[in-house]
């Protein structure tokens, strides 16, 4: 069998086996416990019954995730450039960035709500806080690990600091930036969901997926809860796919990570 076919057949088989085991386990459970593990069929039905609410919640979560992610990319990039310019600045700020990263978001979420208000604003800020760190760390790493020989070359040309940054350090750091972006892309929907879960609000827009999860949980609508989780997975997948596409677009011409092995 060709390897291309195997790549389709193998995961499909795994999926079929998991679903079969899932049904098996469901019916193996005592009847009064079966609500704990709804079948894929029940989850699909929950999608149908709650489609509007889930779609609206998904849109709200996407909005918060996109805003927080975009803000993190922008601020993270600019801060990384600032950090890369001086080891003194790095030494002064790095410990506090670490502290910011260690701070449990769930704990400070209620305070954030007081600061910026519940709903989209809080969700955006929480997503930003979660995405921001890997972006800053990776991009800074890229900006300060420019090839010594190339730095020497620019010195030879008597290039200005600005020219060196624009024409050498930033392009050389792009692969690192995209690594940070990829990590942040997997975190963004989760961040938005957590944000929504802890600081969401049904005011105005009706809340996001996190808020929807709270509602379903309180109503003991477990199939709908699973459906909410599935939507979040899809969202995460779409985010990652978008960043991978962006990364390919920016790097495939020249970066070794896109080197084709059959060339």
């Amino acid at each position: 069998m060709s390897s291309r076919l195997l790549r389709i057949v193998l995961p499909a088989t795994t999926g079929a086996l998991v679903i079969a085991a899932w049904y098996g386990f469901h019916f193996w459970l005592d009847a009064e416990l079966r609500f704990l593990l709804p079948t894929p069929g029940q989850i699909l039905a929950a999608f149908r019954d709650n489609g509007d609410a889930l779609a609206r919640a998904a849109l709200n979560t996407t909005e918060g995730a996109l805003l927080g992610f975009g803000l993190a990319a922008l601020v993270g990039f600019l801060l990384a450039v600032g950090l890369s310019l001086s080891s003194l600045v790095r030494a002064s700020l790095y410990p506090y960035l670490m502290i910011l990263q260690m701070t449990p978001i769930i704990v400070i979420a209620p305070i954030l709500v007081l600061w910026v208000g519940a709903g989209l604003k809080s969700v955006t800020v929480i997503t930003f806080l979660i995405c921001f760190f890997p972006l800053v760390v990776n991009t800074t790493q890229g900006l300060v690990s420019t090839d010594r020989n190339l730095v020497e070359l620019f010195a030879m040309w008597r290039a200005s600091r600005w020219q060196q940054l624009v024409h050498l350090r930033i392009p050389a750091a792009l692969p690192y930036f995209f690594t940070g972006l990829r990590i942040a892309a997997t975190l963004a929907p989760i961040g938005a969901l957590v944000g929504d879960y802890t600081a969401g609000s049904s005011d105005g827009d009706g809340g996001g997926l996190g808020f929807q999860a709270i509602i379903y949980n309180s109503q003991a609508k477990y199939p709908a809860l699973f459906a909410t989780a599935a939507v979040t997975c899809v969202l995460g997948f779409l985010f990652t796919a978008a960043v991978l596409a962006l990364s390919w677009f920016a790097l495939h011409h020249w970066h070794d990570s896109y080197e084709r092995s059959d060339r």
């Binding site: 090839d147 020989n149 190339l150 020497e152 070359l153 010195a155 030879m156 040309w157 008597r158 290039a159 020219q163 024409h167 050498l168 392009p171 050389a172 792009l174 011409h253 020249w254 970066h255 070794d256 080197e259």
Partner: protein, 256 residues
């Protein structure tokens, strides 16, 4: 020749910080258009000597002039070719060649004309749109040389540019480099570990000794000016390679 030297070292010494002497009382005058090779054991300071001319590092004492100026003031007259091709992987061949002129504010039209001309010189005119990773090691080095030539330098500093290439490619590039040198007027300082390469390319070979770095012996290469692959078969060439090799070995044994 009575032309005033384009590069002149007078009693130049170099040490890094409080470290040992790297270069000791270097005296050297290079005529415009001359091709000078520097050869010697590792640690003899030949790369440091190039870096002094390039103004990448200051001299410790003595006097060094480049075109009558200090090395730093003469930076625009120089181009450097490193051992690695040091191409920017995210730029095409043409854009790599055009980068330095672009940083110096040259117009797009002038840059394009220059890059086409120098890429034709190194026989890569048809690869202008390629990315460095699509090129072989020898081709990358050709681009690196083209990039240096695009600056229309009066002095070309080459630090073991062909050290990483196979013998065949190296010999081809030696011939091409000489042909380009014959058609232009730059002065070359060429650091190498290969005696054969030094003899083939140079008007003058400076054999250096280490600890501290000194010019041990200066050898004039009186082979005909127009050198080709045939030159390597001549008696004169072989005698010179043998002489320089013997000399180099004695310097290396003394250093060890």
């Amino acid at each position: 020749m009575s032309a005033s030297p384009i590069v002149e070292f007078r009693e130049v010494t170099k040490r890094f910080g409080d470290g040992p002497l790297v270069l000791d009382r270097i005296n050297l005058a290079a005529r415009p258009g001359e091709f000078i090779s520097l050869i010697g054991p590792s640690g003899c300071g030949k790369s440091t000597l190039l870096r002094l001319v390039a103004g990448l590092s200051p001299i410790s004492s003595g006097a060094l002039t480049v075109g009558g100026l200090t090395p730093d003031a003469a930076a625009a007259e120089l181009a450097f070719v490193f051992q690695e091709p040091t191409l920017l992987p995210w730029l095409t061949v043409a854009r790599n060649v055009e980068l330095a002129p672009r940083l110096r504010g040259s117009s797009a039209a002038a840059r394009a004309a220059t890059s086409q001309r120098v890429l034709d010189l190194v026989r890569l005119g048809d690869r202008a749109g390629a990315y460095p990773r699509q090129l072989s090691g020898g081709q990358k080095m050709r681009v690196s040389i083209a990039r240096a030539l695009a600056l229309a330098p009066k002095i070309l500093l080459l630090d073991e540019p062909f050290g990483a290439l196979d013998e065949m490619t190296r010999e081809h590039l030696n011939e091409e480099l000489l042909a380009i040198h014959a058609s232009a007027a730059w002065t070359a300082f060429f650091v190498t570990h290969s005696v054969a390469e030094a003899v083939f390319l140079s008007n003058r070979i400076l054999v250096m000794s280490a600890n501290p770095g000194r010019i041990h012996t200066e050898i004039r290469v009186d082979l005909p000016a127009a050198r080709t692959a045939e030159t390597r078969l001549s008696r004169a060439y072989h005698d010179l390679v043998a002489d320089v090799s013997r000399l180099l070995r004695s310097v290396e044994i003394a250093a060890a």
